[in-house]
Amino acid sequence: MSTTTHHNETQIVADPNLPTIVLVREFEASPELVFRAYTEPELVRQWLGPRRLTMHIDRYDARTDGSYRFRHIDTDGTEYRFRGVFHEVRPHDRIVQTFTYEDVPEGVSLETATFEDLGGRTRVTTTSVVDTMEARDAMIASGMETGIKEGYERLDELLAGMK
């Protein structure tokens, strides 16, 4: 995964020994801005949900001991509901939260995002930890459908709009 066309391309590590998924991505913005985009519901709504689905945020109280719940709604009305708590929100630095898909309430992942200041740019490292290798693999598999369907359509539009 070393040759890429986009210089900020996402790096992924899915360790064969640990039930974790690590994503590393750099952004052309300060940790302050990236942190806002991760914590202000109106901004979160603009990027977190899959393209095909409408994202409804019931609550997004991104501070230590806060909680969140959001729904992805399909065109046929099907809802996918997610919720969790913010264990620790340290401004511009680190967010630790739980994540659960409500249809599988016993499945909980612990998600840590760190924001590293690269001098006006930011490196975000997100680590998801679950309790079994099977749960980790299911997480990887869950990305399949939307990944195929959407491809890069939406970001092509976004990038075109930015020029």
Binding site: M1, H6, N8, E9, T10, Q11, I12, A14, P16, N17, I21, L23, R25, F27, E28, A29, L33, V34, R36, A37, L43, Q46, W47, L48, P50, R51, G119, G120, M133, E134, R136, D137, A138, M139, I140, A141, G143, M144, T146, G147, I148, E150, G151, Y152, R154, L155, L158, L159, G161, M162
Partner: protein
């Protein structure tokens, strides 16, 4: 490849001895006896590891009664790599939307505030 199958592959590779076996089969086919040689375990134990790898579709054994060498099914690794790559691409797509959000935010910040960018790198 189904989710169960993928889980089986990951589970099979979670064991260090099995990963070592896979690494050795990557260079050449080998019999269970040959594979067992460097380890301080019984041929039966290695045979059990091979069965796990076989069930996961990572290794096949020809039905040659005398030798039955183990063969690595390399295409399974390609499939796994593809699944992980798809997951990565989905994350990348999400992060490019975040890129766009950040660009818009920068525009708003410079509209409302005086930007100070005097820092030397």
């Amino acid at each position: 490849m189904t989710e169960d199958r993928l889980s089986q592959v990951f589970a099979a590779l979670a064991d260090p001895t099995r990963r070592d076996i896979v690494a050795r089969l990557a260079s050449a086919d080998a019999t269970v006896n040959e594979l067992a040689e460097p380890y301080d375990v019984s041929v039966q134990a290695v045979s059990k590891h091979i069965r796990v790898l076989e069930d996961a579709g990572l290794v096949s054994r020809t039905r040659d009664a005398q030798r039955r060498p183990c063969h690595l099914e390399a295409e399974v690794f390609d499939l796994m790599t593809k699944w992980i790559e798809r997951y990565r691409q989905e994350a990348e797509e999400r992060f490019r939307r975040l890129d766009a959000v950040l660009e818009r935010m920068k525009g708003e910040v410079s509209d409302t505030e005086t930007r100070t960018e005097g820092q030397a790198s």
